[in-house]
Subunit: 305 residues, 2 copies
Amino acid sequence: MPIHSFDILLDCLADTKRRPRIAAVCPYDESTQTALLRALERRIADLVLVGDAAHIASLNTLQTYGDRVCLYPATTADEAAAAAVRLVRQGEADILMKGLLNTDTLLHAILDKELGLLPRGRVLTHVSVAELPGWRRLLFFSDVAVIPQPTLDQRRAIIDYGVTVCRTFGIEQPRVALLHYSEKVNEKCPLTLDYRELVRRAEADEWGNTIVDGPIDLRCALDETSERVKGIDSPLGGRADFLHFPDLEAGNLFYKTLPFLCGARVAGMLAGTLCPVVLSSRSDNADDKFLSLAVALFVASHQHT
Amino acid sequence: MPIHSFDILLDCLADTKRRPRIAAVCPYDESTQTALLRALERRIADLVLVGDAAHIASLNTLQTYGDRVCLYPATTADEAAAAAVRLVRQGEADILMKGLLNTDTLLHAILDKELGLLPRGRVLTHVSVAELPGWRRLLFFSDVAVIPQPTLDQRRAIIDYGVTVCRTFGIEQPRVALLHYSEKVNEKCPLTLDYRELVRRAEADEWGNTIVDGPIDLRCALDETSERVKGIDSPLGGRADFLHFPDLEAGNLFYKTLPFLCGARVAGMLAGTLCPVVLSSRSDNADDKFLSLAVALFVASHQHT
């Protein structure tokens, strides 16, 4: 059975024997601290707090969890980012979580060619998971955060990671929709040619047991009736698990629309890196951050087994 | 008081003394007929049915409305499209509605340089209006249907039409958000340079009493709290009326997400043309088509006064 809600995901995490460890970089803001506290309470993770010595030593609520919480002092944000990355490389942390520092500072450490977390040849991207009100399953999508206009090769990598995450969540045959505003392949529209090539590669078994189709629009990807009315005969059958976006403008707007206007719960993490990285933004609340942590912990546990 | 819901819009239409006339091109599908019937029932429009003689003569339910419904036979879809456009040019119809014919066929007649509906120098685009569950006002946006990657000049035109429609709906000082995934102007990102130029033009009074700001993301455009948390100090104050999209991929995806995943009611029409044109797609239901008709009728009434 696939994991079809965040509650079931949390139950699965609670059942895992080995607790993964979060390296939290500069966890100075309240919503990050609340998210970390929930992970401790539910016994789904242990922590290393990386940052200013006095500041991390003052986080008393987290420290009531004794040796499940370690401190790793670092003087500047740059040092904290580098130290957290090092902890992951040394196997002392399983996921990374951004607190109150600039995203660029953390990315700088992650992308360091010698000491970072992105192996040569890997593409840095992002994967999101949403739980929509009234839906009986989770919806996966990418990229909403990193690559403005993916090349064909980057699209291949985005689908790679998306399919891997879907499989981790128990979806045997992930259904991948290559989204576009139309269903037509148009020689003048390079995106649709890329999509045709990706469908060809899927048929040539690039991603094993998957269904990849596109160009296709959102409604046809997720609703069989729309597909039928439009006369589209897609192997997705209106039941896509993973949405691949044409560009970052579309992906990012979708990502922000879901929680803000559709009441969805959405989690996300960097992908392509040696471990999942939770890169929430300042306007995310503790719920958002906790769900992202949960997804990252779950994916990390399955990378290690 | 601005019109802040579709119900109020319908009340306003019912109060209008002169009933505008819809030229319905090839109204052979049930959802188009149902939408037209509702317009008759509510006495907000009269009709000219343009299409195959036998087919339009057989639409008995519509014809119970007597001389409020005229027939205009045309042998082919091409002829029907040309005839409907001619009716508008001759002042015998106020808006155009697409029934069961290819969009390209209707667009071909609309875009005819001599006999069409797009005056030289006008930009063909589209304006949408959404009513979101729990919101106390309507949200306007563009372009979700026509221009894949607008030029600066096309963006100017899109804002022109958007601001005009907002004013028609009673918004004295329309607030226009130029959407992007980030708030930063980046010299390497031409979109953000276009946005900076559009903000400059707004300050130079290009659109009169308006507030135009961007690049800005969806949450900051619509939510003051997000704006504050992110440290953005936008004159929009989290209260945008009109969203301008970075590209058609983003706009079209937003347009399809709102009704399908957010339970919103959404109407839309072509803009830039001599009269509003309702270009619903086959997968739109009668409700969608009727709301689009209502918005088009309202805008057309105000063009004539």
